[in-house]
């Protein structure tokens, strides 16, 4: 419920301009305007938010300060009693992470006849996949093609996407959607079966497939059900805290830690897939996040210590529309689908100051500029924010469009007395996605043999900025891909004697470089005790 006079006054201005805004949008920015805006306002360009790594495969590269601290921290192993001769789990394929990528990988590995196991530090499905609201891209309409999808993603990614990975993403997109549909995912369809598709920021064709605004949840719960139907073991509340190698330096398993009992276990595997997701809970540059509780970049730490290279770890995605009011939902995702359906982004005077479907980095930077330098923001008590004019959706599509299209958003705000059908909502950018991550080849494998990566932990697919709907697509395409290749590879792998010498070696490198750390990593969970809920 809005009670501050300033907010109520501003809402009147929004209502006054609304009729004149129906069907009228601000011009899209030119390439030069975008570049100038980004370099001045996007958090990725803020130099004091980054630090140069002094050890490891990316020595000399800059990464967010908070990530650098974890990459160059102490292993958890020295404090524990790890006996590599006592193997608790012995499998073909070990999947670390129980989100969309991990589950897809496990299903495909199982399909290929492998003995596959999932370990996850929370529950299967506690993942960013579950929270993806807007949809999944795939070029399956008449006027579209994988090449057009490729161009959209490449331009959106500032031409930095790894070509072979992007090609795979767009080419296997329609197949991924079909696979999900055949598993029983209920995509929004017209009565004749045609997929209902919309635009996302930066798309040139309407190729966003959705399941209301529960797209990720619908996909994740279906994948989880399938994992359980297949009897794939899911070791939950168990974190991987270090990879294990064999004497030839090939990855051969992981050390596991029961999050509740603190039991330490050894999993031996012929191949390992890191599918640990993102890093929003590291709160880069103090931003709130739309990410789930476990998004602490664990897989990046594990992989890096084992010698795998990072790519674009200095680029993050700030989703332009995180909830900014009330404080209880600060940082929560307000899906881009809200803008796809027609809601506009307005300043305190009710003026639409940016096209609502610019790419996410541009949209976010425009909002930050409006608040920081153009006096267009509305004070929320936690900072400044701008309006997202949701009632416009029903002006355009008629009454009932919000309940039908974005029920989760309607529910989230109604819990705090805000009816998004009648009142606009306050938004500000929120830390949403890790564009960078571990570098892989097209088969999903890193430079370290038998170590695969899938999902948000991968870097390079999306270049330096990801388009909406390409992440759900990526977790499915590259999750399946990693599962297929890792299980195939496992058929010919013979695991040698297990060792953690690479962990000692990394510690030695830190010592040589004069890097001292007082913390251990991976972080596993954020610490919010005695803090405000963010």
């Amino acid at each position: 419920m809005y009670t501050s006079d300033a907010m109520l006054e501003s809402i009147k201005k929004v209502e006054a301009t609304r009729p004149s805004r129906v069907g009228v949008l601000p011009e899209r920015m030119t390439a030069d305007e975008k570049e100038a805006l980004l370099s001045q306002y996007h958090p990725d360009y803020k130099e004091d938010g980054f630090e140069v790594l002094q050890v490891g495969p990316n020595k000399g590269d800059k990464v967010p300060t908070e990530l650098a601290a974890l990459l160059q921290a102490n292993s958890r192993i020295p404090g524990l009693n790890v006996d590599l001769n006592k193997v608790d789990y012995d499998v073909d394929v070990l999947v670390i992470g129980g989100g969309g990528a991990g589950s897809s990988a496990a299903i495909e590995a199982h399909e290929n006849g492998a003995n596959v196991m999932i370990v996850t530090k929370l529950r299967i499905g506690d993942a960013n996949t579950m929270m993806a609201e807007g949809g999944i891209q795939a070029a399956d309409k008449e006027n579209d093609s994988p090449a057009i999808h490729y161009l959209d993603a490449l331009g959106g990614g500032h031409y930095a996407n790894v070509p072979e990975l992007l090609k795979k993403l767009v080419t296997e997109g329609p197949g991924a959607v079909k696979w999900l549909n055949e598993l029983g995912v209920m995509f929004d369809k017209a009565p004749d079966g045609t997929m209902i598709t919309t635009h996302g920021g930066g798309t040139s064709r309407k190729r966003m497939h959705a399941a209301k605004d529960y797209s990720g949840a619908e996909i994740m719960r279906t994948l989880r059900d399938e994992v359980l139907n297949r009897g794939i073991p899911v070791i939950d509340f168990t974190a991987a805290i270090e990879l294990i190698k064999d004497e030839e330096g090939k990855v051969a398993g992981a050390v596991l830690l029961n999050m509740e009992t603190h039991d330490v276990m050894v999993a031996r595997a012929k191949t390992v897939i890191i599918a640990t997701g993102g890093a929003g809970r590291l709160h880069y540059q103090g931003f709130p996040t739309s990410n789930h509780y476990g998004a602490t970049a664990d897989g990046l730490i594990l992989g890096y210590r084992a010698g795998a290279k990072l790519l674009y770890a200095d680029t993050l995605q700030y989703h332009p529309t995180g909830a900014a009011f009330p404080s209880q939902i600060l940082g929560a995702l307000v899906t881009e689908k809200v803008r796809s359906l027609g809601a506009q982004v307005l300043n305190k005077d009710g003026i639409a100051f940016v096209h609502p479907l610019e790419t996410r980095d541009v949209e976010a930077a425009a909002i930050i500029r409006e608040c920081q330098d153009r006096d267009g923001g509305i004070e929320t008590g936690e900072g400044l924010a701008v309006w997202l004019d949701t009632p416009l959706i029903e002006e355009i599509h008629g009454e009932g469009a919000i309940e039908k299209g974005i029920p989760a958003m309607l529910r989230m705000f109604s819990k705090y007395g805000i009816d998004i059908r009648k009142e606009p909502i306050l938004v500000y950018p929120t830390l949403h996605y890790q564009n960078g991550g571990l570098q892989i080849a097209a088969d999903g494998q890193t430079g370290v043999e038998n170590l695969y990566v899938a999902g948000e932990a991968v870097g390079g697919i999306h270049g330096r900025n990801r388009l909406m709907g390409n992440s759900l697509l990526d977790v499915i395409v590259f999750g399946r891909n990693a599962g297929q290749h890792a299980s195939e590879k496992a058929k010919s792998v013979k695991v040698g004697k297990l060792t953690l010498s690479h962990v000692e070696q990394f510690a030695e490198e830190m010592k040589q470089a004069g890097v001292e750390s007082s913390i251990v990593s991976p972080k596993l969970l954020p610490n919010y005790t005695h803090q405000k809920d963010i």
Binding site: A139, L151, L154, N181, E218, A408, L525, K532, D533
Partner: protein, 224 residues
């Protein structure tokens, strides 16, 4: 000075700021959560919580991450509930009443008490979707249950021992796979891709110099 309220976490009293969610209050009180905390945004069902307000007999259910604390709130979380999950092969089942009778026969023991609906943290009409499932009306069951996050509170309140969220996901998967019409454009597109129809177009694009690609991007036609 922040306004404070008293909440009773598992019966123990804590004073917390009044604007916190229940989850925020637990953390404020000093709990490092492991269970009972997942997406923190109302989508994963990890933080199902039941509570009473002092002097009110009603038993309420909610998500801890989505609910603001109240004064004299008595809170117990339900981080896990043993739902019955039957396994099946999605490729071998048929979308008819038989499958429900076979996998979840207890739904026919529903006594119509409506405790499930009253306790739903998403405000869904749970008893209604179970009724649809009983009658084999899976599309209706799927639609009615669509916003279910599988937190399990409904099942904890059910005298007929029904695992409602598992019934609902079966109905949704049957609906998505078998009952909704096929997307023919998707089937065709996948065939075209398998046939290599787009390979040349993509290769041509990938071979172009970067300046030409930028030009193509900046001048591309955007569907209205």
């Amino acid at each position: 000075m922040e306004e404070m309220v008293n909440v009773f976490l598992f019966g123990k009293k804590y004073s917390v700021p009044s604007n916190l969610t229940i989850m925020g209050a637990m953390e404020y009180a000093g709990y490092q959560l492991i269970r009972g905390c997942g997406c923190r945004n109302g989508f994963c069902g990890a933080c199902a919580t039941i509570y009473r307000i002092k002097d009110d007999r009603e038993l309420y259910a909610c998500l801890a991450c989505q609910t603001t604390v109240q004064d004299n709130m008595y809170v117990a979380t339900l981080p896990y509930f043993p739902l019955v999950k039957e396994v099946y092969d999605i490729n071998k089942v048929s979308p008819n009443e038989q499958i429900m009778m076979q996998l979840y026969p207890e739904i026919y023991s529903c006594i119509g008490c409506n405790a499930c609906t009253k306790s739903c943290t998403q405000g869904l009409n749970v008893m209604q979707y179970i009724a649809y499932a009983q009658r084999g009306e899976f599309e209706k069951c799927a639609e009615e249950s669509f916003d279910c996050i599988m937190c399990g509170v409904c099942s904890s309140r059910c005298p007929a021992k029904i695992s409602h969220p598992q019934v609902a996901i079966l109905a949704r998967r049957l609906t998505g796979k078998y009952l909704m019409p096929e997307a023919k454009h998707l089937t065709n597109r996948v065939k075209e891709i398998e046939n290599g129809d787009f390979e040349q177009m993509l290769e041509d694009l990938m071979q172009k110099p970067i300046e030409e690609i930028k030009e193509l991007y900046n001048t591309r036609e955007i569907e209205k």
